[in-house]
């Protein structure tokens, strides 16, 4: 009995834990398909794919992705090289120096990213000045600084991954190659590197992902090269739209895809290894094999996910939410008109009561509804619309993204507009 309670509470805990972990991502993904201009999952209005279109038309996002890729490639090259050198050095130096050396190369993981960014900026600025170079020199270039700043700590991650593999390397192999007449460079390239390849690959992926999502360091160093993360942060801070949810959804999907593919691959290799042990000769190119999916849940999920994606993309091209959006708009318009009628009736009554104060009274009446989009139709009464003729209020400015009562009325969106205007 006691055991049963324990088991139930474990599952409740696990459920809550993963709800906290995955819930936000699921809800964020859902908002990418809802038509209101402010990202939210409730109330659900219309299924729409237009935010994906808006995303792919956003020059700044696309430019940010390009910069992120550039920075990522540079960081991967530099930090894997430095991490490998650092790991090799760690296995060779004497025990006395090793602890100091290890503390130095592990420290960047613990130093706050903000501090790394600042120190990189200050240090290279000083070098730049000492060399007497101008403000537009290579050393003060955003791309260079960002790669340098990120590599400082990403190299430590790479080092940890590489050291784990290097510990299993037998130095005798290199010595044997040297005895057989290989040069040091040949021994390095033909013996050590092939052995390290899996670890180098995982360190590279890790470095790229870490670089891609870095914000704290990059925000001080990016200069003329805002990465995707920087652009996202700007957008999120100054007004949010579901286009960001759409991007997040794509990233979530890609991550899940990558993780499942990796898992399926590991499983497949394990099965092949097992089969080899049993003496059977498996078909290594097992992708065409139906048995590929057997007993490999990750692979099954992967295939299902791929089918799902293709279906959704397929329907997205054919589906148009225009009718639904128009319906929602119509309901909102009716609701709004009703509100206006009520207001007008009330005002008429007021006017009759106190002729002298009618103007002020009406003013205050009008501005009662909050400008935030608390209620489905509250925004219609936002101060901007009130300056118009009241009857026209409900059909107020058609949002350019053609999304019902889109972000025109959303205070955050107004902010963003201001932002983009001022830039």
């Amino acid at each position: 009995m006691n055991n049963k309670i324990l088991r139930i509470s474990i599952w409740v805990y696990l459920g809550l834990f993963f709800a906290y972990l995955l819930g936000p991502l699921v809800i964020m993904s859902a908002t990418a398909f809802n038509s209101p201009g402010f990202p939210r999952a409730t109330p659900w209005e219309c299924l729409t794919f237009e935010w994906f279109g808006a995303l792919f038309q956003d020059e700044r996002i696309l430019n940010g992705i390009w910069n992120s890729v550039l920075v990522g490639l540079g960081t991967v090259t530099l930090s894997v090289a430095m991490g490998l050198a650092g790991a090799l050095m760690l296995t060779q130096i004497s025990a006395k120096v090793r602890s100091v050396y290890y503390t130095i190369i592990i420290a960047p993981i613990l130093i706050p990213g903000v501090v790394l960014g600042i120190s990189t900026l200050v240090f290279w600025d000083r070098i730049n000045r000492m060399l007497g170079l101008g403000a537009d020199s290579f050393l003060s270039n955003g791309l260079f600084l960002t790669i340098i700043g990120q590599s400082t700590f990403i190299a430590s991650y790479c080092m940890l991954v590489l050291v784990a593999r290097l510990q299993r390397y037998d130095m005798v192999q290199t010595e044997a190659a040297l005895d057989l007449g290989a040069s040091h460079a040949q021994a390095f390239r033909k013996i050590l590197l092939p052995f390290m390849r899996p670890a180098i690959a995982s360190a590279g992926v890790l470095a790229f992902l870490a670089s891609f999502e870095n914000y704290n360091t990059t925000t001080f160093t990016f200069g003329e090269y805002p990465t995707l993360t920087i652009e996202l942060a700007q957008k999120v801070r100054y007004g949010i739209t579901p286009a960001i949810s759409a991007l997040a959804f794509i990233i979530v999907l890609l991550t899940v895809f990558g993780a499942l593919a990796n898992e399926a691959n590991i499983k497949r290799k394990e099965r092949i290894a097992e089969a080899r042990k049993e003496g059977a000769l498996p078909d290594v190119k097992g992708i065409s094999l139906p048995g590929f999916l057997r007993g490999n849940p990750a692979a099954v999920l992967l295939v299902l996910l791929a089918i799902g994606t293709i279906t959704v993309v397929g329907t997205a091209t054919a589906y148009s939410p225009a009718q639904c959006i128009a319906d929602v708009k119509e309901t909102k318009r009716l609701e709004a008109e009703q509100r206006i009628q009520e207001l007008r009736a009330k005002r008429e009554a007021d006017r009759a009561k106190q002729k002298a104060e009618q103007g002020e009274e009406a003013e205050t009446q009008q501005s009662t509804p909050k400008p935030s989009n608390n209620s489905g139709f509250g925004n219609v009464f936002a101060p901007t619309t009130l300056s118009d003729d009241e009857e026209e209020g409900a059909e107020a400015p058609e949002p350019s993204n053609n999304s019902g009562f889109g972000n025109v009325f959303d205070p955050d969106a107004l902010q963003e507009d201001d932002q983009s205007n001022s830039e």
Partner: protein, 306 residues
């Protein structure tokens, strides 16, 4: 030293050895040590326009540090109450986030470390996936949930808990949830690594001797997992105290995080030495706190990063 170099080049060859040594020196000296020293040096200098740097006015001064404690000169206050309060609040909140994460993550680390089966791998995958989503997007996701018209408020009002939307952002609940959310994996991973290597027989033995479950954890599992717990706590504390994205996106309008002050000094006030001084203060205080707590719980520095 020369003996080491000779052996080093003998072992690795001139070419490979030189490249290796060059990379290591560039990384340790050029990227880690010198920039930190440079920042420290910079924090003791006055804020001068570029032409005057290196000139007669460029002398060492404690001005930047004084500013943090006493505020602007002639400002009429005894202390720089605003910045000091932000600093204090940041450290307290980071410590609370760390404790929250520890309590949240210890059970799952134990569960993952001590059970077997296929579902463990799926759980591990589910843990890792959110970690690869951009930090900004994770904060954004929480903002959607905690916003005034967000999912949480809709649910709470719908179920009648509140009749007014509750402002999670202004009350900093969103910020704490976001910081905790961002570093879950960094807490789980070190703990999981240690607990996984704990011999299950030890737990069995304790159980056979009649220990209740909480005493098994208190006397067997936690002492064994101490290095993992301290690594996890150190990482989460340092990263939350140094977080910038989550406070910028989820922080209330009236409350600041210390890193935001640093950011303002650099980007809005254009006072780099002042920002550098704040950064030094943050770094030194965090390291001192971590070392103090580690001494308190008798954990060695060498256990970190295992």
């Amino acid at each position: 030293m020369t003996g080491f170099l000779k052996e080093f080049f003998n072992r690795n060859g001139i070419g490979v050895g030189a490249i290796m040594l060059g990379l290591v020196l560039f990384w340790t000296i050029g990227l880690i040590v010198l920039p930190q020293l440079s920042m420290l040096d910079f924090s003791f200098r006055p804020n001068l326009p570029p032409p005057e740097i290196g000139g007669p006015k460029d002398v060492y001064t404690l001005e930047n540090y004084k500013y943090l404690v006493f505020g602007p000169e002639g400002g009429g206050q005894d202390y720089n109450a605003v910045d000091l309060r932000v600093f204090y609040r940041t450290l307290i909140a980071a410590a609370l986030v760390t404790i929250f994460n520890l309590i949240l993550c210890y059970p799952i680390s134990y569960y993952l470390g001590q059970s077997e089966g296929n579902h463990i791998r799926i759980f591990a995958l589910m843990l890792i996936i959110p970690y690869w989503i951009n930090e900004i997007l994770r904060a954004f996701a929480l903002r959607i949930i905690f916003g005034e018209t967000g999912v949480l408020n809709t649910v709470l009002i719908g179920s009648g808990v509140f009749d007014q939307p509750f402002d999670f952002i202004r009350n900093d609940i969103a910020l704490y949830a976001g910081l905790g959310y961002a570093y879950i994996l960094l807490m789980i991973f070190p703990m999981y690594n240690v607990i996984e290597s704990l011999d299950r027989n030890q737990i069995e033995a304790a159980r056979d001797l009649g220990a209740p479950w909480w005493r098994i954890h208190w006397r067997v599992v936690i002492p064994y997992a101490k290095p993992g717990i301290s690594s996890g706590c150190t990482m989460v504390f340092m990263l939350s105290a140094g977080a910038l994205a989550a406070p910028q996106i989820l922080g209330g309008p009236s409350s600041l995080w210390f890193t935001q002050l640093i950011y303002q000094q650099f980007n809005d006030n254009n006072d780099w030495p002042q920002g550098a001084a704040y950064a030094v203060v943050l770094l030194v205080t965090c390291i001192a706190l971590v070392l103090a707590v580690m001494r308190l719980f008798k954990v060695n520095m060498g256990d970190i990063g295992k």
